[in-house]
Symmetry: C2
Subunit: 253 residues, 2 copies
């Protein structure tokens, strides 16, 4: 068994605890949470510690806290020369205090408290300072996911930006769709099959081949009618800039 | 049996033919296609006509052609006082020639030639000029879909704009995600589980509650790092305007 300790009590930490609890290769030695109660429903209470000095020995320490807290947390760890990784897409390897062997264990997924996820399909992006440490991370990652990638720091930055586009920004477009529905007394339900199919389509088609709509068709009558119909200036701006981007795209082909 | 005729041979027409072929309530009398061969794999060849004057009597004629062709096609129909509907989200009821009883049969979904769809989950948005005609449309719609809504012309316009945001624009964000991956020699595959989960999440959570990321957290360090990292001016602009929109949103709460 590979013995791991998870530090943090937020969304990512909680989903990792749930996933590793089911693993037959990995054993959770302990979890660190400032408030022990936060994790009480997920793991035996005597495995929860709230004092760094109490942390026992483990093969791997996974820091799953907010980006800005990683340096401070990693400094407070009362040991050295062990494998310590963070789970951030945006933070560099070097935010981890160099008294330990640094690494990254970045699950490329969106986590919410009230939404279960199937960890086996979540890409885990791994980085380590040497081959031995990488193999440890890889064994741990493969025990919960079928999709494991070695990703260097520059690639991870690119992935994180890409994830902002396909997740954060996409979700915001869903919200605008909901706003338009509400304004016109339409249930948001009516858009959900379209939202689902839009995401499903690119599982097999290239996004550029899946593109449809008035911008792609250069249908200026419909585009102008839409812009006239929208009363919210912010929605209008977003409509214009994305329509233009789709059309410029076409030109590049 | 309700007897229907489909006019057109594009994506929507083809998906409708496939769906109605399975229906036990609706019988396809004929389909009209300028080139008979286009539909030869979907329906018996002797049911395909390419001359409007040859069209037989039916209870309902569904015009599934491009928006700009609807007026011309509806004018050429060699009969009057029958139910004639179009399938467009953007076109008004009145683009149909008034010699017939006008209606709309708008499937709110994205159709591609090489991607099968499950029609039973596709919202069908119906409009007619009187109750009798509406009931006919409703029976036809319910024979292929479990999600049927009466939608007036103003609501349909709103839906069509909303669909552009959640489908066309979202797909374009996927494409930007793919471009960023390619630039950094990453497989687009790695983003697909995130894309799928982003769409799944809002099936149960409100989009505003599903929102995560640096914009939502007002994490200006990450936002600035991302803007510095992006070299494409178009991607930068989209990043800025959507980040701002997410942040202004927060203020309105």
């Amino acid at each position: 068994m590979i013995r791991i300790t998870i530090i943090g009590s937020g969304n990512v930490a909680q989903h990792l605890i749930k996933a590793f609890t089911k693993s037959e290769v990995v054993e959770i030695v302990e979890v660190y949470s400032r408030k022990k109660e936060t994790l009480a429903s997920l793991i035996e209470f005597d495995k929860i510690v709230n004092v760094f000095e109490d942390l026992k020995e483990a093969d791997l320490y996974i820091i799953a806290v907010s980006d800005k807290s990683i340096p401070e947390v990693s400094k407070q760890l009362p040991f050295h020369n062990r494998i310590v990784v963070h789970t951030s897409g945006a933070a560099s390897l070097d935010v981890i205090d160099s008294k330990n062997r640094k690494g990254v264990f970045y699950p490329l997924q969106t986590f919410s408290k009230n939404k279960e996820v199937d960890f086996s399909t979540i890409p885990l992006c791994l980085e380590a300072e040497n081959t031995f440490d990488f193999r440890v991370l890889e064994s741990v990652a493969k025990s919960i996911s079928n999709v494991v990638f070695p990703i260097n720091s520059d690639q991870r930055k690119a992935l994180h930006v890409a994830a902002v586009f396909v997740n954060n920004f996409t979700n915001h477009l869903y919200q605008i769709g909901e706003e338009i529905c509400k304004e016109h007394k339409l249930p948001f339900e009516i858009l959900k099959p379209l939202i689902r199919e839009t995401a499903e389509k690119i599982q097999t088609l290239e996004p550029i081949d899946a593109q449809t709509g008035p911008a792609k068709r250069h249908d200026s009558t419909t585009i102008e009618a839409h812009l006239e119909y929208l009363t919210n200036e912010n929605q209008k701006n977003i409509y214009k800039i994305l329509t233009q981007s789709i059309q410029n795209n076409g030109k590049k082909l």
